[in-house]
């Protein structure tokens, strides 16, 4: 259950760690991440992207997040980008570097955002344009963790009872039964959750307390500083690149 472990860890970092970046408001972090992503996508300087990579790592470290772990997750998209980069080597040496660093930086920015902002806070912003989307996000969060916990438990039971020990035909049959059982269980869980919500006054729409949406304040200096650093780097690189001093 590697994926569920990764999701648990990201959720743990976002909820249980404390740093100035964690304390910043959700909106400032979201705007900062979108701005950083935009800059990363439109930059064509390999050196600037490499410098940006170091800036992101510095901020990740400052947010008390484990750099090596986040980097290992960011390498997944980099692997696929490198396949494309390899095909470009005969034509240019700079382009593959740009492709790979663009992929790593994009992934790192997203990981930085979700590791410092709890998912419900991030998705509570969705309730501004659409209440239904906000409701879905609010409910999905708990259901998702409940679901991966149940999946993990049932998978362990199946393995312990030799469900994956026989021939391929048996393994596939058992896996099919496992998925079928999961479907039934998740249906049952959602019904139970609905019954519980009904007893707690749910009547089709969830209200949010304003605690979920923080106001702007001095804690937002960190995401602003993050965006400014990347922006400054990109302006400098564009300036020097125009004079042929930067690759």
């Amino acid at each position: 259950m590697r994926i569920s472990a990764t999701i648990y860890l990201i959720d743990h970092y976002a909820n249980n760690l404390s740093s100035p970046m964690h304390k910043a408001s959700t909106l400032s972090k979201l705007i900062s991440a979108i701005a950083a992503l935009g800059i990363t996508i439109f930059t064509n300087s390999a050196l600037a992207l490499m410098a940006e990579f170091l800036i992101i790592l510095t901020f990740i470290g400052a947010a008390k997040l484990p750099i090596s772990r986040l980097l290992s997750w960011a390498l997944y998209p980099a692997f696929f980008a490198s396949l494309f980069a390899l095909s470009q080597i005969p034509y240019s040496l700079v382009l593959p570097i740009i492709t790979i660093f663009r992929a790593i930086n994009t992934a790192l920015i997203m990981l930085f955002l979700i590791s410092t902002t709890p998912y419900p806070e991030l998705f509570s912003i969705l309730s501004t344009p659409s209440k239904t989307l906000g409701n879905v996000a609010f409910l999905t969060y708990r259901f998702f963790f409940l679901f991966i916990e149940q999946t993990g438990e049932r998978f362990t039971v199946m393995k312990a009872r030799g469900g994956l020990a026989g021939s391929w035909k048996i393994k596939i049959t058992n896996l099919a039964h496992f998925i079928g059982m999961l479907f039934v269980t998740s249906f049952e869980t959602s019904e139970n959750m609905y019954a519980a919500m009904k007893t707690r006054g749910y009547s089709g729409s969830i209200s949010y307390h304003k605690k979920l949406r923080q106001k702007f304040g001095k804690q937002d200096l960190i995401p602003i500083l993050f965006t400014l650093c990347i922006l400054a780097l990109m302006i400098i690189s564009t300036f020097f690149k125009a004079r042929g001093l930067f690759v």
């Binding site: 806070e121 708990r142 519980a196 707690r200 009547s203 969830i206």
Partner: protein
């Protein structure tokens, strides 16, 4: 005391055609009363509770809560429930948000919600959990959060479905203390289902025993423990202490069958002294 719940021989047919009935004696909860519903698995305890909550409607029989049919939405804020699997009940992304769920749904203003939730958290002594994410809590902590989320709107009746099952002794004791405190300080009636006879004297003034879809006993915990045959009829085992006292009584010795350890000790010591002299 006013009667707040009355169940008269109900029958429910589930979607898969399974029929569950709860007949026999009438089931009644009085205002401020602590009621335990004892029965083996599948005896009909949960079905009866779901009828009281208005989640299920009886195909036959009658259920009234505060003199009205339980499906009436005005009753929802008067009756709260803690489900067997509290994981399915805790919805909020943090403990604070989860406790705020009901007050927000009942239309309280943001300031009222804040004050209600903060007060509840203080009352239950779970300030340290307020900003925690529910799936990182222990079983006992989750149970407290579920109780906080259920009673934050000051219901008149709290129903708990096997709420003490699966908890370690310390968490079980803490939850019982918490329930008794809520009952004493708020006058809130409590109905708890269980198949563990040992907890009954600590959580109930009145006990109902359900066996195979029939309420076969109503009385105080002491009256129940004096009739161990009721346990066996319901497919449950009386505690070893009761079995011992019953065996002594069957031998013709003068003992009162009770689950009170101190009382049992005194009785046995008295018998030993009589034997020696």
């Amino acid at each position: 005391m006013r009667e707040i719940v009355k169940v008269n021989c109900i029958k429910h047919r589930y979607a898969d055609a399974t029929e569950v009935s709860v007949c026999g004696l009438s089931f009644i909860i009085q205002e401020g009363e602590r009621v335990a519903i004892l029965g083996a698995n599948g005896s009909g305890k949960t079905t009866m509770l779901l009828h009281i909550l208005g989640i299920l409607e009886p195909t036959e029989g009658e259920v009234t809560v505060f003199g009205e049919p339980p499906t009436k939405s005005s009753l929802h804020s008067k009756v709260a429930m803690v489900f067997q699997n509290v994981d399915e009940q805790i919805i909020g992304p943090t403990v604070w948000d989860d406790i705020a769920f009901s007050p927000l749904n009942y239309g309280h203003s943001s300031d009222e919600v804040k004050s209600m939730v903060d007060k509840m958290i203080r009352e239950l002594g779970i300030q340290h959990l307020a900003n925690r994410v529910p799936h990182y809590l222990s079983g006992g902590e989750k149970k407290k959060v579920a109780i906080a989320g259920a009673v934050v709107t000051h219901p008149k009746l709290l129903i708990l479905d096997e709420a003490l099952t699966g908890l370690d002794t310390k968490s079980q004791m803490e939850t019982i203390e918490l329930l008794n405190k809520l009952n004493k300080e708020r006058g809130m009636a409590i109905a708890i289902t269980t198949h563990e006879a040992s907890i009954i004297p600590r959580v109930a003034d009145v006990v109902y025993v359900i066996s195979e879809g029939a309420i076969i006993f109503r009385g105080t915990p002491l009256e129940l423990f004096q009739k161990p045959e009721v346990f066996r009829k319901a497919g449950l085992e009386p505690s070893p202490l009761i079995e011992l006292l019953e065996a002594l009584k069957n031998k013709g010795l003068e003992v009162e069958v009770s689950d009170d350890l101190e009382k049992a000790k005194r009785q046995i010591l008295k018998l030993c002294k009589t034997d020696n002299s």
